[in-house]
Point group: C2
Chain length 279, copies 2
């Protein structure tokens, strides 16, 4: 791993690292915030952030205002790029497919399968790297926004025992039922819709092996709410399965990082409380 | 004035407006954050932010994390673009002259004088517009970063009675003594160096008509510290003149918005305390 950027931030350090990913077969960038406690040698829990469509590892670290809360709670925050990248990596001219739009799945279809293994990268390779190279414990949380909110929910639900906590901002909760998800899942996984359900939080809730409480914030003025996000589908699935969920509809808020920043403190409180509790 | 952007943020609203500036002879964009108190109809004091080289009205509102403090203190925050803009506006290929580099002076030299009247824009036209169109009082503070830190200090020193408070992050404190300033002042004001001193905070301190306390934060790992910023020049001038200054050297911090965000809370406390005190 090679450090390519570092900035003092709220008494800790915002870094960006580059590494050759064996899962994705390309060079990846990942942002790592080390709180003051970590710089002083303490081992800290790790909160993973998954970004939305078009984002790189930069969007979250420059716009979300998360470092102050990570510093206060003593949490390492890891924000990877949202897809494999580079000249040899398959791509599509649309913003919602290919580079910048990995959807956190493991692709099975050509030309995507060679590089688009984002689920294994996020759930396996990246935590192993972080826990090897940084003063990190194996206590993990995961959260994200939009496509990355979908990624966080699905990653937690598919990997019981791996995460202590999960939350999401304006997530795509049912990709198999909305245009963004249908396009991506068809491309990466093929046309067998049964396969899609393994990557759909609303579908996965019914058979979830642990009852990790979900915290979801959703802006009511979000331009993608009715067509692409539809959080009530997740809420209904949770109610049917007895799965704990707190869905907060936030009047006036849109899909932007202004919304994310406004409720970031609450998400850190949610994850920090879970990290502090023995399982 | 025409609103071109709006986002709910920390219970208030981050807006961007566009207007025809009579001072600058061009269309200008300006960001305005309205705290919850202003949305509820209270008149609020206004804090003006001046950005650094290359910045538009976007940098501060997306990266500084200021909205939470503005919301808490009930302060309107106004962040204009850093220079006149547009096809008919004189420019230079260098990043440190022309568009994005107005230096907050009133230019006297061709081809700049037609549009580059940033001091009159910031100190006169903009406050008049804000106080007419928004629920603002005439209680004002001003702060900024780098070239904008210079702008904030000079604007407060040149306009006694107009601002209740001033502060700066990594300001260019003595433009007549450093390369960035010498290049810009020569272009905008001509080669008579006596004229430059009217736009140099370190020179203006000796004859300041009011003793507005200066708060200055400066990162010790700032790559521009030794050549362009040199805050000790301002500190020495303040000591010679008996002008109150708090210069805080911050170990490890660089010139970026990560630094600015880390100490934003303190700057809001500084301005809010001045706003609360009767003169």
């Amino acid at each position: 791993m090679q450090r390519i950027e570092q900035h003092a931030s709220f008494g800790g350090r915002q870094e960006v690292w580059q590494h050759a990913s064996t899962t994705l077969n390309c060079t990846m960038k990942v942002a790592v915030y080390l709180p003051p406690a970590a710089l002083q040698g303490q081992r800290c829990p790790v909160l993973y952030w998954l970004s939305g469509l078009t984002c790189t590892e930069q969007n979250f670290i420059t716009k979300a205002g998360a470092q102050q809360y990570a510093a206060r709670h003593g949490i390492i925050v890891v924000a990877p790029d949202s897809s494999p990248r580079g000249e040899g990596v398959a791509d599509d001219p649309a913003y919602d497919l290919g580079q910048g739009a990995g959807f956190y799945v493991d692709a099975t279809q050509a030309p995507w399968a060679t590089h688009y293994q984002m689920q294994r990268y996020v759930a396996e390779e990246l935590p192993a790297l972080i826990e090897q190279h940084f003063p990190a414990t194996d206590v993990r949380g995961i959260f994200g926004h939009s496509m990355g909110g979908h990624g966080a929910l699905v990653t937690a639900l598919r990997n019981p025992g791996r995460y202590r906590s999960v939350s999401a901002f304006s997530p795509i909760v049912a990709p198999s039922q909305v245009p963004w998800g249908q396009k991506a899942l068809a491309a990466y996984l093929g046309n067998d819709r049964e396969q899609w359900l393994n990557w759909d939080a609303t579908a996965l809730i019914a058979t979830a092996k642990e009852r990790l409480p979900l915290l979801v914030d959703q802006g009511e003025a979000d331009e993608f709410l009715a067509e692409q996000l539809r959080p009530q589908l997740l809420q209904a699935a949770c109610e049917a399965a007895g799965h704990p969920i707190t869905l907060r509809m936030q009047p006036g808020y849109d899909h932007s990082y202004y919304f994310i920043a406004s409720f970031m403190e609450d998400h850190f409180a949610h994850h920090a409380a879970a990290f502090a509790n023995p399982r």
